[in-house]
Point group: C2
Chain length 151, copies 2
């Protein structure tokens, strides 16, 4: 495993915490690109928080914005275990993140490489660098096991 | 002014509050469709809250979800002064709102009738009924004056 992938392992740990909390297992971390340090960690909490916007990505962005008292995070990279949905992709554009690394591709709910392809829209406010398929198998396996157990 | 438009007037009042707070003037209210009552009011707070996701629509949805301890609001209608962006449109789908009434159309930032057209995507989780152009002139004038004053 390359050094670059370490934050994705942290994001996967967050996804495991989501399972323990009865949430869909998706985790995310934010890295301050100037220091290489993980500065925010979150997992999906839509059910527990009673909040349809409480996806891992949005919670991590809100956490870090609060820490820095700013609505924009240009020097930050997001690692998330699943391709972001349209809501999260648009929030990522709003936050002006530098890079997005995601795990599994999501043909049904993804908004980056599928569906509305938010960053390919001419009206997007910002387009981060995107790297998909990082530790893809681990992220996909967590999700598959979660949904298998619930059926 | 028809009875139906009254909540949009409430949303416009929220947009005026946004101006007073130095925020982009967009306001939203949620109506419980079973009673016809306005149950949540919010305006854009991205700068004041240091939160790129603090759009009027998302704040109103989060507020009502917290009140009812649920992440889904099927018996609710949203009135918002501007066409929702992609982030808010996807959040509206997530919250399963029944109807969306919006004021001004937004060719540059809208995600409903423009750009990614979130509810027209085959992968959207939910499509509310959409009514655009309600009290359009009032909403557009607020935005035009705001941006004129800042240039």
């Amino acid at each position: 495993m390359s050094e670059q992938n370490t934050p994705m392992r942290e994001a996967l740990k967050e996804a495991v915490k989501a399972i323990e909390a009865g949430e869909v297992p998706i985790g995310a971390v934010l890295v301050d690109s100037s220091t290489g340090t993980v500065v925010a960690r979150a997992h999906n909490l839509t059910e527990g928080n009673c909040d349809p916007t409480a996806h891992a990505e949005i919670l991590a962005i809100r956490m870090r914005c609060e820490q820095l008292s700013t609505p924009r995070l240009p020097d930050h990279d997001l690692y998330v275990t699943l391709e972001p949905c349209a809501m999260c992709a648009a929030a990522i554009a709003g936050a002006r993140l530098r890079r997005v690394y995601f795990g599994a591709y999501d043909p049904k709910g993804g908004g980056v490489e599928h569906g509305p392809r938010i960053f390919n829209q001419p009206t997007t406010h910002h387009t981060p660098e995107i790297y998909g398929g990082i530790d893809e198998d681990a992220a996909a396996k967590l999700l598959q096991n979660f949904f298998k157990d619930r059926r």
